[in-house]
């Protein structure tokens, strides 16, 4: 009987803790969004974060985009050639990248590269008492630390996804046209005629903006909410990567169903 009660109590504690954490997370994003004025007032803060969150992520995004595009092209060619439809390779590579691979893989890579760095940086600022020191100096950490990082992440994600897709298409071209001999005109013209601006590109951009908001929210919140110890920061960093991956994959399904489900 006691064991059963303990189990129910344990479940209750976990549920309550989760609800509290969600409440803190929503209050956190509310404060962060309300602090957006700082990015206009102190533009240099945003620029600095755009560099560390966005520009420093370009390398891994570019390399990944190139290899994914090359692999897509190789796999696609082997399938399409059986049906004599290798001219559609450009269309297949572009649609795969713009609709799915670009936003999703960019978000996952961003969570691993920039998200974990954001969590660790903010968490360590908490460990070394920099955030409380700021509060004691009557400086709001939401404005000075959190908001510039959050908005830098939200701005960077669609741009990185665009870079991923563009370089991916180039990788597909290299393998499909230059290596496997697909007709260059067919490759580009099929792509041009079948990839729509609104239904494909804009929807992909919307996805990457949503992923940008969610992944950066998770990253900055985990850092801000981390237990201020080395172990606490380590756990928070792990949670950022894992929770971001779950959120991105789950949201991708929902967004895909909403955007393309009825088509």
């Amino acid at each position: 009987m006691n064991g059963l009660l303990d189990m129910i109590r344990g479940i209750g504690v976990k549920v309550l803790n989760s609800v509290r954490r969600m409440g803190r997370g929503h209050l956190f994003i509310f404060h962060t969004i309300m602090s957006f004025g700082i990015i206009f007032k102190e533009f240099s803060l945003l620029m600095k974060q755009l560099f560390s969150v966005g520009v420093l992520s370009v390398q891994i995004i570019a390399v990944s985009g190139l290899t994914v595009g090359m692999v897509l092209s190789l796999q696609g060619y082997n399938t399409l050639v059986d049906f004599g439809a290798e001219q559609s390779l450009g269309q297949m590579v572009a649609l795969s990248l713009v609709r799915e691979m670009g936003p999703v893989l960019t978000a996952l890579l961003f969570a691993g590269r920039a998200g974990s760095a954001l969590t660790a940086e903010i968490g360590l600022m908490k460990v070394t008492e920099q955030l409380p020191a700021m509060e004691i100096m009557a400086v709001d950490p939401y404005r000075k630390v959190i908001a510039p990082r959050f908005f830098a992440g939200v701005i960077s994600m669609p741009l990185l996804a665009a870079i991923f897709s563009a370089i991916g298409v180039f990788g597909g071209y290299l393998v499909g046209v230059e290596l496997l001999g697909v007709d260059s005109g067919g490759f580009w013209s099929q792509m041009q005629s079948k990839v729509g601006l609104y239904e494909d590109i804009v929807n992909g951009v919307i996805k990457s903006i949503v992923f940008g908001i969610v992944v950066t929210w998770i990253a900055v919140f985990e850092g801000f909410d981390a237990v201020p110890t080395t172990e606490g920061v380590s756990r928070a960093t792990t949670r950022t990567v894992v929770n971001s991956a779950f959120a991105v994959l789950g949201l991708d399904f929902i967004l895909t169903a909403l955007m393309f489900g009825g088509a």
Binding site: Q130, A133, I136, M137, A138, V139
Partner: protein, 273 residues
């Protein structure tokens, strides 16, 4: 326990009245009263984990008490909304145990940070003020260094310069001597006393370094188990009849504060199979 109740309220910069603070079911501070007179160096001492730093965080409004009033310069801190609280904090400074310097800013920029945030004074004046404050802590020559290039003692001195840059009415020191070599301890002690007297500040130190703080404090509070065990001048406490106070001040391993964690009988424990 000597009381300051006969003093006029205006002579007290900080009054903690019947303050309690709990974290979950654990009582950290239990109905304590602390009075901090203006212009003096007051130290809150006690064993680790007894709520000394909690008392400081209550004074700065980082946390709210479960009950009681925390009055700073006539304002009841728990009742203050965010903006008035931030205005009050501009008149306070706090030196953290680690120094809490911003790791991406140089020494100069760290000290200039509060000026840039809260004033519109020109850059030339910021430079002069920063150099004067760094000179006061003996680190004018280190202004271009980054925090990672500083020793622990230097970090705290830079933090002290940053703390006094807005000329606060009060400075709170959280464990300023922990982990420092004797020379650094001597330097920090001298700075605390000298700055307090020359700038007309009020200083509150949280520490468990009995010998050091006794030499520079005007008044001591000893907290244990969330309660104020004793208070008075260093001399008064030195002559205290309380066994607990004597054990704490002289660092005796056993006494009212037991050496052994409660356990069953030792012989029985050894013979148990």
């Amino acid at each position: 326990m000597t009381s300051l109740a006969n003093k006029q309220p205006s002579e007290l910069l900080v009054e903690m009245k019947n303050v309690s603070f709990s974290h979950g079911n654990r009582v950290i501070l239990d109905d304590i009263n602390i009075e901090i007179p203006r212009g003096k160096v007051t130290t809150i001492m006690g064993p680790s984990g007894t709520g000394k730093t909690t008392a400081l965080r209550l004074i700065t409004g980082q946390i709210l008490p479960s009950q009681g009033d925390v009055i700073v310069d006539g304002l009841n801190v728990p009742e203050l909304r965010r903006q008035p609280l931030f205005e009050l904090r501009k008149r306070m400074g706090m030196m953290f145990q680690t120094g809490a310097l911003f790791s991406d800013l140089s020494v100069y920029e760290n000290v200039a940070f509060p000026l840039r945030e809260h004033t519109d004074i020109p850059e030339s004046m910021i430079r002069d003020i920063v150099i004067m404050k760094l000179q006061a802590v003996g680190l004018r020559g280190a202004r271009d260094l980054m925090p990672s290039e500083l020793s622990g003692g230097m970090s705290r001195r830079v933090a002290l310069a940053r703390t006094i840059v807005l000329d606060p009415m009060m400075i709170l020191y959280d464990e300023p001597f922990t982990g420092q070599d004797p020379i650094t301890v001597g330097v920090i002690m001298q700075l605390i006393r000298k700055l307090n007297d020359s700038l007309g500040l009020t200083s509150v130190i949280v520490s468990h370094d009995v010998a050091e703080v006794s030499r520079i404090s005007d008044r001591l509070y000893i907290i244990s188990g969330g309660k104020v065990e004793a208070s008075g001048s260093p001399t008064e406490l030195e002559n205290s009849d309380s066994e607990w106070v004597q054990q704490f001040l002289h660092g005796r391993p056993d006494g009212p504060a037991k050496f052994h964690y409660p356990a069953c009988d030792y012989a029985e424990d050894l013979l148990e199979i």
